[in-house]
Symmetry: C3
Subunit: 365 residues, 3 copies
């Protein structure tokens, strides 16, 4: 696979896009029509664990998004690239949405799933350590997807785990595959954001409704946005908290020299934003809390005409369904694309992109 | 598949029937030996959702029963007709029996399962709407099997769901695939019931021990029985409730002009019945209740010599195990056949009957 | 398969052994390098249920260990010997470790899993009998793996179950597949233990930290050890209980004439032992209890230089992680090997060893 590039085989069947009223569903083809995928970039992911956004380079994120686009456009399940592979989905914090997304991605690629929907009912209840659980998984699985209430959980399980780990959310830590899905939605919507240094008038004003320091999806989105700093004019964080960043996020954002602004005033800032990222749920200690509950959006909110909204879902009432049938709704596309993004990531980490060569031609670089 | 008919390929291996003492296990062959299946009838099910018994025509029920009989008689798993397809079993009300029945049916046909055994532990707990969950499933699955405590749940999830839904029980609503299994057992036992207009002495006197208005399996059985009115002489409902029907069932039963009778006296009616349908469990509000608990059957009950008992199971003490080894026991055959019926339904809704052509020859109509 | 013998096909890929610091990971090759497996011995397991250790002969245990060794050394998943087969993992007592071990073993052989991680949420909650559940499984599955808090559960479910049952732990009863994994680890470590009558100086002094009468894993290990009496010099049971055996274990151990000794003094006995078997958790009534909690091992414990420790895991603090990186640690190898042992058992019970003939040559006896 070294020095190879991928492009779709036009003989393969094209999947139907969803037909969803007026919501935005940008076509995936825009991300790969003009150039083949650089397989050599993705080859570096083979065998790697994904714990934080910092495990990705900008090039890797872009090529993963372009691979996801191919997988969204082309039916590949009959090639079974993960044939014989077993993925454990170990959810010590329950999340049907994320768990089933990974399980669906694995099945679409022909792999098998050992599902642990509620890890707390296991040996953990009896007091077993994550490190011992990691040792156990070595014999049972080829890759582990884990969600946990404890921010330190990925480090603990990796003390003995020798197969790759994908972090699907750790306490107030990160949720890096959600950030991949977020940016996949943005790049389908605006493929020009891939460009390393956009003219100022084309750059985005990103708005974040929420508190990155205690909302891991928000934090990972923000950290991945820093990889695309050449496409961003400004970041505005609207939060009830005076210091909505944790130490590490604050340091990263200052280090990269991006223009950012923190406020608790939603009214005077909302109409300036090109992208609004929101999440209802913050992780506090051992449980969820609806943070920043004052900040709600509906179809009367003063949004810029072509502003788009991202939300990792599930939502409560902070995001009104009255926005579902509008051109601001990019969150359904974001949710829909997540499963293809996870397919691309799994195929890359398993080093099985070559098994797709009947559907996606491999081009020598 | 249009204008095609199916008959079994005699080279295919025949499954062993269960050997269960004296209980009734009618052979499935009686349902397809004399004529091929009308594939054009089943082709109308492709892509359809199944929410109530009224989603079926009489012809569809008959051809589904005959297809189930073929699938019970012939081993088809190696043809993998659902290869590459993903079924979500979303049980917001737990039911191992029904869930595993659908999962087994899917695996026997080569499909994959995403299992949500206890939907209440998911985003729902955080307040997510069924409509949002439906939108999520579009990306993850090709078909959804759902059970829910809320009678209105199928309508809610279908607001955004674009893949077919099979209702596996909704509150006090319906359980249409259970009714298919019920009638499959009856038709194997008495294939002549397929005839549209039986002579009076061959028609059945159906007895129902229970309250259709709050027992969804009983309700669906009763509604499907109305499709076979030409095979029924009379329906007697034995219930503690003065009006055991809900509004809609009462209207349907009166509209079809069938002779029916409501009583709370089991002793004087039991010996008249050809078929006794019972269920121990009624759904009341948010929980189960053992209704009509006075009505119990055992091997001392005054049953007609050739009367048969149906019960959707699980049972409590209303149906004594002393009846298991008698010729009245059709309920084990009913339970055994359910998985083949669900196979037939899944293959039809997925439009994949043609993949069985090596086992079941397709005959042009 | 009758009169056939198996040996590995050297063309098949060899699996990488785990690289785990100083812990013991004996190579599986030692168990099959000198002689082919006697397939005729394993053929007797086809279609059989495994409820207690007494369901195995000594020859069957040895050949299962040798088959497990081949499966550990050679990648066989692409041959899918369990293709089309469905295994139900019915855990009426939750255990992620054992459940996922069986599920992984089934997937590695190409079978499907219907997973019931917490059986108590099902019809059982409504009062359904195990005998009715067994009848249900006949239609859904080809083999049932069950764990249950009730020691009598295997007998109850088998009243109607006609497919094979593998007991994965029943109350204070047995855990026979754990004993297979235990002895598989011991035979890899000391292949000479297979010999029927070792010279005294080569025989093992087995030490058991725990109470076989209320610890099913300990009991099954002890009962299987009696099959290898020619390799054992003495058994010492170190327990807080005056009579740590139940009636049946006591009778068996006396009947076989092995030298055994019961004590509550760990200090003066530990340095004599060649093998130490321990388990933290005893099953008392309906729940677990940490029994014999005074008996803890760490890297300061006075162990014989080449003594090895076995533990079925999960562990609490009775087995210190300070022992993990020592040559006493055979428990990681024991855990790692369990999944291959279960593969071998499943392939044998399903009578599908012939499907492995591309990887493992079948030699006529």
């Amino acid at each position: 696979m070294v020095d190879a590039r991928l492009e779709p085989n036009r003989m393969a069947p094209i999947l139907e896009p969803p037909e969803n009223s007026d919501s935005l569903h940008p076509e995936p083809e825009v991300l790969f029509d003009d150039a083949p995928i650089e397989a050599t970039v993705l080859a570096h992911l083979e065998g790697r664990s994904i714990v934080t956004v910092s495990d990705f380079s900008r090039r890797e994120v872009i090529e993963l998004c372009r691979l996801a686009a191919m997988l969204e456009a082309i039916e590949v399940s009959r090639f079974r690239p993960l044939d014989g592979k077993i993925v454990v989905t170990a959810f010590f914090e329950a999340s049907t949405r994320t768990r089933t997304s990974f399980e669906s991605a694995t099945f679409r690629l022909g792999g098998n799933i050992i599902s642990i929907p509620e890890g707390q009912v296991t040996g953990v209840k009896k007091g077993e350590s994550l490190s011992d659980i990691g040792e156990m998984f070595n014999a049972y699985a080829d890759l582990v997807v884990m969600r946990h209430t404890d921010t330190d959980a990925p480090r603990q399980i990796r003390q003995n785990l020798r197969v790759p780990l994908i972090n699907a959310g750790n306490g107030t830590g990160e949720h890096p595959t959600q950030a991949l899905a977020d940016w996949y939605a943005l790049l389908k919507w605006r493929p020009d954001l891939i460009g390393p240094d956009l003219p100022l008038e084309k750059r985005l004003h990103l708005g974040i409704l929420g508190t990155p320091g205690s909302m891991r999806a928000v934090k990972s989105f923000l950290l991945m946005s820093l990889l695309f700093r050449g496409a961003i004019r400004k970041i505005t964080v609207i939060s009830e908290m005076a210091d909505p960043f944790g130490d590490d996020v604050g340091r990263e954002i200052r280090k990269c020299g991006i223009d950012y602004h923190v406020t608790n005033d939603i009214q005077s800032n909302l109409r300036e934003l090109d992208v609004i990222y929101m999440n209802s749920i913050a992780f506090l200690g051992d449980s969820y809390k609806a943070l920043d509950a004052r900040y709600k959006l509906d179809n009367n909110s003063p949004l810029k005409e072509d502003a788009v909204i991202l939300h990792p879902l599930a939502r409560l009432d902070e995001l009104s369904t009255s926005l579902d049938d509008t051109r601001h709704n990019l969150y359904f596309s974001q949710a829909h694309g997540a499963v293809f993004m996870r397919q691309g990531l799994l195929a890359s980490v398993f080093g099985r992109l070559d098994r797709l060569s009947e559907a996606i031609s491999i081009i020598a670089a």
